[in-house]
């Protein structure tokens, strides 16, 4: 069977400017940050990013890589407002498709199920319809005759997700309390890249329900220890709150120069050095 392991650089070499890119996780939780950092080292730009937004959105926005964002929010959780997302919005840096969290979920379901849309009771009466004039409603063909919003499929060219464990074939396991929507991201994308804390030989002893992502929906697997840093990847590690605060309060060029100018190893050791300086 196919060994799908690759490096972050190999993943990024398969991405190109203008793509629609889905990013898994939620807020500042289990974001595929090593893959996002690899993306930042490339010249891939002009992206349509589909994300339950966290610092993935902030980093890509600060680096000017986003042409359009599809999101219901962007947050750092313990810091409610993602500063680089805010700044980018306030300078009108990219187009936004602002939809509700549930609409987003049904858009992923539609894409994963190869449906053009799914009807939802959300968006009606809100300004989501005003700011997304392309959104349409649909009338129930049954007796109720209800009018609902037809959320278009959020089909993506590629998806990036990060899980706790994976095998070389592309099966992925989450060990935390919440799967978020990572399986749907993989199924809703033409290609999906799964980074993990640790590669394992097999899942012979795994609790079956933890095996969230199946290999048929995964194109490449990357072993990236601490690859969700500074977001959480429980139970392997929680959010690096101190470092997140640094990220949120440091001017972008300064942060990028100190932490993002080298490769992933350089990043991880720069983070370690910074932590040592704090004690």
């Amino acid at each position: 069977m196919t060994d799908k392991t690759m490096t972050p650089e190999e993943v990024v070499s398969r991405l190109h400017s203008g793509m629609t890119l889905g990013i898994g996780g939620w807020g500042s939780r289990r974001k595929p940050m090593a893959l996002v950092r690899a993306l930042l080292r490339s010249d891939v730009t002009d992206l349509t990013v589909v994300s339950y937004g966290g610092p993935d959105v902030g980093l890509l926005a600060a680096a000017g890589r986003i042409r359009k964002l599809v999101a219901a929010f962007a947050t750092l959780d313990s810091i409610p407002l993602e500063p680089h997302f805010r700044a980018a919005r306030q300078r009108g840096a990219f187009e936004l498709m602002e939809i509700d969290e549930a609409m987003f979920m049904w858009g992923l379901h539609a894409a994963a199920n190869r449906l053009p849309f799914l009807p939802v009771r959300a968006g009606l009466g809100s300004d989501v319809l005003r700011v997304n004039p392309g959104l349409r409603t649909v009338t129930s063909p049954y007796e109720d005759g209800e009018t609902l919003v037809a959320v278009p499929a959020l089909r993506m060219d590629a998806a990036l997700v990060h899980l706790n464990r994976a095998d070389r074939l592309g099966n992925g396991q989450y060990l935390g309390p919440d799967p978020y929507f990572d399986d749907l991201f993989c199924e809703a994308a033409d290609q999906a890249y799964l980074s993990c804390e640790r590669l394992v030989d097999d899942f012979a002893t795994a609790v079956p329900q933890t095996l969230l992502v199946n290999r048929h929906s995964v194109t490449g697997v990357v072993e990236a220890p601490h690859g969700a840093h500074f977001t959480s990847c429980v139970p392997d590690y929680g959010r690096d709150e101190a470092f997140q605060k640094l990220y949120a309060t440091t001017p972008w060029p300064e942060f990028a120069e100190r932490f993002l100018s080298g490769g992933e190893k350089t990043y991880q050791s720069a983070v370690q050095t910074w932590h040592e300086e704090q004690t």
């Binding site: 939620w26 937004g53 999101a71 219901a72 929010f73 962007a74 947050t75 409610p80 407002l81 997302f85 805010r86 919005r89 306030q90 300078r91 009108g92 602002e98 939809i99 509700d100 969290e101 549930a102 609409m103 979920m105 939802v120 009771r121 959300a122 968006g123 009606l124 009466g125 809100s126 300004d127 989501v128 005003r130 700011v131 209800e146 009018t147 609902l148 935390g176 309390p177 919440d178 799967p179 978020y180 929507f181």
Partner: protein, 248 residues
Amino acid sequence: MSRTTTTTRAEYCVIACADAWRDNGEVLASPMGLIPSIGARLAKRTFSPDLLLTDGEAMLVGLDGTAEGWLPYRRHLTMVTGGRRHVMMGASQLDRFGNQNISCIGDWQQPARQLLGVRGAPVNTLNNPVSYWVPKHSRRVFVEKVDMISGVGYDSAAAAGPSATRYHRIPRVVTNLGVLDFATPDRAMRLASVHPGVTAGEVQAATGFPLALPDEVPYTREPTATELRLIRAVIDPDGLRDREVPPA
């Protein structure tokens, strides 16, 4: 007992929040903010024992934090659309018909201040009861017209038709000054009670649109001795509530 003099403003807020979940039955209480969280716990400990609570992550938990169920985001969203939930959300802006904004201030195309985004407000308001908590009642929050309708108000739901109004309900808005509801013929915001120490005039002065006013505005009810003890000794012994709403 002369509790009137000793009950703090924050404690009236807790009581007003707790009462939002009275007679709700076996639904998820989703409190956003500290005082609503204390209120939800108080309600569960007293008059609404069947309420469900979360740990703020992916578990349904009892009052002692013991897990009793699994509620990751995808299932939480089902709970929203299934209607077995009563959320108390925050609001950056709120208008007289209960339209709420948490998305941005100013022009949406290029906002003066980007806030959270609409999050789940559009789906929440159309599917399960949504109350609001505003710790600082001011004209900046209570505006004539919100900049971006995130949570749907009564007039917007009515304009959007039966699918929008079918499960739409905004039971109450609790603030540091009083309790507001929409129990008027045209569903315009009404001052339902003021917390002791506050006058209706003060609430109106802090509100950017005319409020419907009953002939006599009642006071928010007093906590019972048991409730006061639970708030002070059991649920919030460190007095964090006074940080969210300082004593008047």
